[in-house]
Amino acid sequence: MKNPITGLNKVFDNRIRLGVMSILVVNEEISFNDLKQMLEVTDGNLATHLVSLEENGYIKVHKGFIGRKTNTTYSVTRNGEKAFSDHITALENMIKGVK
Protein backbone atom coordinates (compact mmCIF):
# COMPACT_ATOMS: atom_id res chain seq x y z
CA MET A 1 0.00 0.00 0.00
CA LYS A 2 2.80 2.36 0.84
CA ASN A 3 4.68 4.37 -1.64
CA PRO A 4 8.28 3.31 -0.91
CA ILE A 5 9.69 6.78 -1.51
CA THR A 6 7.29 9.02 0.36
CA GLY A 7 5.77 6.56 2.83
CA LEU A 8 2.34 7.86 1.93
CA ASN A 9 -0.48 5.36 1.91
CA LYS A 10 -2.19 5.02 -1.46
CA VAL A 11 -5.49 4.03 0.09
CA PHE A 12 -5.63 7.48 1.66
CA ASP A 13 -4.86 9.15 -1.64
CA ASN A 14 -8.48 10.26 -1.83
CA ARG A 15 -10.27 13.05 -0.03
CA ILE A 16 -13.29 10.96 1.00
CA ARG A 17 -11.35 7.94 2.25
CA LEU A 18 -9.03 10.21 4.20
CA GLY A 19 -12.05 12.08 5.55
CA VAL A 20 -13.72 8.87 6.72
CA MET A 21 -10.54 7.86 8.55
CA SER A 22 -10.15 11.31 10.16
CA ILE A 23 -13.67 11.10 11.54
CA LEU A 24 -13.43 7.48 12.67
CA VAL A 25 -10.21 7.87 14.65
CA VAL A 26 -11.88 10.38 16.99
CA ASN A 27 -15.32 8.74 17.17
CA GLU A 28 -15.91 5.29 18.59
CA GLU A 29 -18.67 4.43 16.19
CA ILE A 30 -20.47 6.40 13.53
CA SER A 31 -23.42 5.78 11.24
CA PHE A 32 -23.51 5.95 7.47
CA ASN A 33 -25.81 8.96 7.52
CA ASP A 34 -23.65 10.90 9.95
CA LEU A 35 -20.60 10.27 7.76
CA LYS A 36 -22.53 11.38 4.72
CA GLN A 37 -23.65 14.60 6.41
CA MET A 38 -20.19 15.40 7.72
CA LEU A 39 -18.38 14.76 4.42
CA GLU A 40 -21.10 16.16 2.15
CA VAL A 41 -21.00 13.30 -0.35
CA THR A 42 -23.57 11.16 -2.15
CA ASP A 43 -24.67 7.72 -0.94
CA GLY A 44 -23.08 5.81 -3.79
CA ASN A 45 -19.81 7.64 -3.62
CA LEU A 46 -19.44 7.16 0.11
CA ALA A 47 -20.46 3.48 -0.10
CA THR A 48 -17.75 2.72 -2.67
CA HIS A 49 -15.03 4.26 -0.56
CA LEU A 50 -16.26 2.54 2.60
CA VAL A 51 -16.08 -0.82 0.84
CA SER A 52 -12.51 -0.19 -0.21
CA LEU A 53 -11.52 0.82 3.32
CA GLU A 54 -13.20 -2.30 4.65
CA GLU A 55 -11.43 -4.52 2.12
CA ASN A 56 -8.12 -3.10 3.27
CA GLY A 57 -9.03 -4.04 6.82
CA TYR A 58 -8.97 -0.44 8.03
CA ILE A 59 -12.56 -0.21 9.18
CA LYS A 60 -15.18 -2.53 10.67
CA VAL A 61 -18.82 -2.55 9.62
CA HIS A 62 -21.62 -3.24 12.08
CA LYS A 63 -25.03 -3.88 10.70
CA GLY A 64 -27.83 -3.16 13.10
CA PHE A 65 -31.45 -2.20 13.16
CA ILE A 66 -33.40 0.71 14.57
CA GLY A 67 -36.92 -0.65 14.49
CA ARG A 68 -37.15 -2.03 10.99
CA LYS A 69 -34.72 0.36 9.41
CA THR A 70 -31.17 -0.79 8.92
CA ASN A 71 -28.59 1.18 10.80
CA THR A 72 -25.08 0.55 9.61
CA THR A 73 -22.27 1.89 11.72
CA TYR A 74 -18.54 1.98 11.20
CA SER A 75 -15.52 1.94 13.45
CA VAL A 76 -11.79 1.96 12.87
CA THR A 77 -9.70 -1.20 13.31
CA ARG A 78 -6.32 -1.31 15.03
CA ASN A 79 -4.73 -1.79 11.61
CA GLY A 80 -6.56 1.24 10.29
CA GLU A 81 -5.43 3.37 13.19
CA LYS A 82 -1.83 2.34 12.63
CA ALA A 83 -2.02 2.98 8.88
CA PHE A 84 -3.59 6.37 9.46
CA SER A 85 -1.00 7.50 11.98
CA ASP A 86 1.82 6.28 9.67
CA HIS A 87 0.26 8.29 6.88
CA ILE A 88 0.20 11.42 9.01
CA THR A 89 3.83 10.91 10.00
CA ALA A 90 4.70 10.65 6.32
CA LEU A 91 2.77 13.84 5.60
CA GLU A 92 4.58 15.64 8.40
CA ASN A 93 7.95 14.51 7.08
CA MET A 94 6.97 15.71 3.67
CA ILE A 95 6.09 19.13 5.03
CA LYS A 96 9.35 19.35 6.95
CA GLY A 97 11.15 18.35 3.78
CA VAL A 98 12.64 15.19 5.35
CA LYS A 99 12.92 12.13 3.18
Binding site: R15, V25, V26, I30, L39, I88, I95, G97
Partner: protein, 216 residues
Amino acid sequence: MAEQNQQQDSLREVTDIRRLMERSSRFISLSGLSGVAAGIFALVGAAVARYVVFDKYYDEYDQRHHFDNSDFARLKMQLLGLAAVVFAAAFLSAFYFTWRKSRKEGRPLWDFTSRKLFWNMMIPLVAGGLFILGMLQYDDWRFVAPACLIFYGLALVNASKYTLTDIRYLGYFEIVLGLLNMQWIGYGLYFWALGFGVLHILYGVVMWWKYERVSK
Protein backbone atom coordinates in the same frame (compact mmCIF):
# COMPACT_ATOMS: atom_id res chain seq x y z
CA MET B 1 9.25 22.47 -8.13
CA ALA B 2 7.54 19.09 -7.87
CA GLU B 3 8.77 18.80 -4.35
CA GLN B 4 7.27 22.14 -3.41
CA ASN B 5 3.93 21.12 -4.88
CA GLN B 6 3.97 17.94 -2.89
CA GLN B 7 4.72 19.94 0.22
CA GLN B 8 1.71 22.14 -0.48
CA ASP B 9 -0.48 19.09 -1.03
CA SER B 10 0.65 17.53 2.21
CA LEU B 11 -0.03 20.70 4.10
CA ARG B 12 -3.53 20.93 2.68
CA GLU B 13 -4.16 17.29 3.52
CA VAL B 14 -3.06 17.73 7.12
CA THR B 15 -5.29 20.81 7.44
CA ASP B 16 -8.22 18.79 6.09
CA ILE B 17 -7.61 15.95 8.54
CA ARG B 18 -7.36 18.33 11.44
CA ARG B 19 -10.54 20.13 10.50
CA LEU B 20 -12.53 16.91 10.16
CA MET B 21 -11.21 15.44 13.40
CA GLU B 22 -12.19 18.60 15.23
CA ARG B 23 -15.51 19.12 13.54
CA SER B 24 -16.62 15.52 13.98
CA SER B 25 -15.85 15.35 17.68
CA ARG B 26 -17.05 18.71 18.98
CA PHE B 27 -20.00 20.97 18.42
CA ILE B 28 -18.36 24.33 17.95
CA SER B 29 -21.24 26.56 16.87
CA LEU B 30 -22.22 27.31 20.46
CA SER B 31 -22.57 31.08 20.57
CA GLY B 32 -21.34 33.31 23.40
CA LEU B 33 -24.45 35.43 22.93
CA SER B 34 -26.46 32.39 24.05
CA GLY B 35 -24.74 32.64 27.41
CA VAL B 36 -25.39 36.38 27.66
CA ALA B 37 -29.09 35.97 26.84
CA ALA B 38 -29.56 33.10 29.30
CA GLY B 39 -27.78 35.15 31.97
CA ILE B 40 -30.04 38.16 31.46
CA PHE B 41 -33.18 36.04 31.79
CA ALA B 42 -31.77 34.44 34.94
CA LEU B 43 -31.15 37.87 36.50
CA VAL B 44 -34.65 39.07 35.60
CA GLY B 45 -36.09 35.84 37.02
CA ALA B 46 -34.11 36.23 40.24
CA ALA B 47 -35.31 39.83 40.61
CA VAL B 48 -38.94 38.77 40.14
CA ALA B 49 -38.47 35.92 42.64
CA ARG B 50 -37.02 38.36 45.15
CA TYR B 51 -40.01 40.64 44.69
CA VAL B 52 -42.49 37.76 45.05
CA VAL B 53 -40.83 36.36 48.16
CA PHE B 54 -39.62 39.41 50.08
CA ASP B 55 -41.83 42.26 49.03
CA LYS B 56 -45.11 40.43 48.64
CA TYR B 57 -45.00 37.31 50.75
CA TYR B 58 -43.18 38.72 53.77
CA ASP B 59 -45.14 41.99 53.61
CA GLU B 60 -48.42 40.14 53.74
CA TYR B 61 -47.07 38.14 56.62
CA ASP B 62 -46.15 41.31 58.50
CA GLN B 63 -49.64 42.66 58.02
CA ARG B 64 -51.59 39.57 58.96
CA HIS B 65 -49.13 38.08 61.45
CA HIS B 66 -50.03 34.57 60.48
CA PHE B 67 -49.96 32.38 57.44
CA ASP B 68 -51.52 29.04 56.74
CA ASN B 69 -50.40 26.22 54.52
CA SER B 70 -52.37 27.41 51.51
CA ASP B 71 -50.39 30.67 51.42
CA PHE B 72 -47.15 28.76 51.40
CA ALA B 73 -48.49 26.36 48.77
CA ARG B 74 -49.40 29.35 46.61
CA LEU B 75 -45.91 30.80 46.96
CA LYS B 76 -44.41 27.45 45.99
CA MET B 77 -46.52 27.25 42.85
CA GLN B 78 -45.64 30.83 41.91
CA LEU B 79 -41.93 30.15 42.29
CA LEU B 80 -42.09 26.87 40.37
CA GLY B 81 -44.04 28.58 37.57
CA LEU B 82 -41.49 31.39 37.50
CA ALA B 83 -38.65 28.88 37.34
CA ALA B 84 -40.28 27.13 34.39
CA VAL B 85 -40.79 30.42 32.50
CA VAL B 86 -37.19 31.54 33.15
CA PHE B 87 -35.84 28.19 32.04
CA ALA B 88 -37.92 28.24 28.84
CA ALA B 89 -36.93 31.84 28.01
CA ALA B 90 -33.24 31.19 28.70
CA PHE B 91 -33.26 27.96 26.72
CA LEU B 92 -35.06 29.45 23.71
CA SER B 93 -32.85 32.53 23.55
CA ALA B 94 -29.72 30.39 23.92
CA PHE B 95 -31.03 28.13 21.18
CA TYR B 96 -31.74 31.09 18.91
CA PHE B 97 -28.22 32.58 19.00
CA THR B 98 -26.57 29.20 18.46
CA TRP B 99 -28.95 28.45 15.60
CA ARG B 100 -28.06 31.81 14.05
CA LYS B 101 -24.34 31.14 14.40
CA SER B 102 -24.52 27.66 12.90
CA ARG B 103 -26.54 28.99 9.97
CA LYS B 104 -24.00 31.72 9.33
CA GLU B 105 -21.24 29.12 9.34
CA GLY B 106 -23.26 26.89 7.04
CA ARG B 107 -23.18 23.99 9.49
CA PRO B 108 -26.10 21.83 10.51
CA LEU B 109 -27.42 22.63 13.98
CA TRP B 110 -28.62 19.10 14.66
CA ASP B 111 -25.90 16.67 13.63
CA PHE B 112 -24.29 13.94 15.68
CA THR B 113 -21.94 16.36 17.46
CA SER B 114 -24.80 18.48 18.81
CA ARG B 115 -26.71 15.28 19.56
CA LYS B 116 -23.85 13.98 21.66
CA LEU B 117 -23.47 17.34 23.38
CA PHE B 118 -27.19 17.44 24.14
CA TRP B 119 -27.35 13.96 25.70
CA ASN B 120 -24.23 14.36 27.76
CA MET B 121 -25.52 17.65 29.08
CA MET B 122 -28.99 16.24 29.77
CA ILE B 123 -27.90 13.32 31.94
CA PRO B 124 -26.63 15.32 34.95
CA LEU B 125 -29.24 18.01 34.31
CA VAL B 126 -32.27 15.71 34.37
CA ALA B 127 -30.87 13.80 37.35
CA GLY B 128 -30.41 17.12 39.17
CA GLY B 129 -33.86 18.35 38.23
CA LEU B 130 -35.54 15.21 39.54
CA PHE B 131 -33.41 15.33 42.67
CA ILE B 132 -34.53 18.90 43.36
CA LEU B 133 -38.20 18.06 42.74
CA GLY B 134 -37.73 15.19 45.19
CA MET B 135 -36.42 17.61 47.82
CA LEU B 136 -39.41 19.87 47.27
CA GLN B 137 -41.66 16.87 47.70
CA TYR B 138 -40.33 16.62 51.25
CA ASP B 139 -40.63 20.39 51.72
CA ASP B 140 -36.94 20.94 51.91
CA TRP B 141 -36.12 24.22 50.22
CA ARG B 142 -32.76 24.87 51.72
CA PHE B 143 -30.65 23.01 49.19
CA VAL B 144 -32.49 23.95 46.00
CA ALA B 145 -30.09 26.71 44.91
CA PRO B 146 -26.89 24.81 45.79
CA ALA B 147 -28.22 21.67 44.06
CA CYS B 148 -29.11 23.71 40.92
CA LEU B 149 -25.60 25.15 40.80
CA ILE B 150 -23.77 21.89 41.50
CA PHE B 151 -25.70 19.72 39.06
CA TYR B 152 -25.52 22.39 36.37
CA GLY B 153 -21.78 22.71 36.93
CA LEU B 154 -21.35 18.95 36.61
CA ALA B 155 -23.44 18.99 33.42
CA LEU B 156 -21.15 21.66 31.94
CA VAL B 157 -17.97 19.80 32.88
CA ASN B 158 -19.40 16.69 31.26
CA ALA B 159 -20.52 18.61 28.17
CA SER B 160 -17.12 20.25 27.73
CA LYS B 161 -15.83 17.06 26.11
CA TYR B 162 -18.23 17.64 23.24
CA THR B 163 -18.04 21.37 22.62
CA LEU B 164 -15.71 24.33 23.24
CA THR B 165 -13.49 23.25 26.12
CA ASP B 166 -13.77 26.69 27.76
CA ILE B 167 -17.19 25.73 29.08
CA ARG B 168 -15.43 23.46 31.57
CA TYR B 169 -14.26 26.50 33.55
CA LEU B 170 -17.79 27.85 33.76
CA GLY B 171 -18.71 24.41 35.15
CA TYR B 172 -15.96 24.57 37.80
CA PHE B 173 -17.16 27.99 38.93
CA GLU B 174 -20.78 26.84 39.19
CA ILE B 175 -19.77 23.83 41.31
CA VAL B 176 -17.63 25.94 43.66
CA LEU B 177 -20.43 28.49 43.98
CA GLY B 178 -22.93 25.73 44.81
CA LEU B 179 -20.64 24.28 47.49
CA LEU B 180 -20.05 27.73 49.01
CA ASN B 181 -23.80 28.27 49.04
CA MET B 182 -24.09 25.27 51.38
CA GLN B 183 -22.38 27.41 54.05
CA TRP B 184 -24.73 30.35 53.52
CA ILE B 185 -28.02 28.58 53.13
CA GLY B 186 -30.31 31.59 53.48
CA TYR B 187 -28.73 33.36 50.52
CA GLY B 188 -29.62 30.83 47.85
CA LEU B 189 -31.30 33.35 45.60
CA TYR B 190 -28.19 35.55 45.50
CA PHE B 191 -25.89 32.62 44.80
CA TRP B 192 -28.32 31.47 42.15
CA ALA B 193 -28.35 34.91 40.51
CA LEU B 194 -24.56 35.03 40.65
CA GLY B 195 -24.15 31.56 39.11
CA PHE B 196 -26.87 31.59 36.49
CA GLY B 197 -26.95 35.34 35.80
CA VAL B 198 -23.58 36.99 36.28
CA LEU B 199 -21.38 34.00 35.41
CA HIS B 200 -23.35 33.26 32.23
CA ILE B 201 -23.03 36.84 31.06
CA LEU B 202 -19.31 36.97 31.85
CA TYR B 203 -18.71 33.64 30.16
CA GLY B 204 -20.80 34.66 27.14
CA VAL B 205 -18.93 37.94 26.69
CA VAL B 206 -15.54 36.21 26.97
CA MET B 207 -16.58 33.54 24.45
CA TRP B 208 -17.96 36.09 22.05
CA TRP B 209 -14.79 38.14 22.34
CA LYS B 210 -12.59 35.10 21.83
CA TYR B 211 -14.34 33.29 18.98
CA GLU B 212 -16.97 35.46 17.29
CA ARG B 213 -15.74 39.03 17.31
CA VAL B 214 -13.02 38.29 14.75
CA SER B 215 -15.34 36.72 12.21
CA LYS B 216 -17.47 39.85 12.00
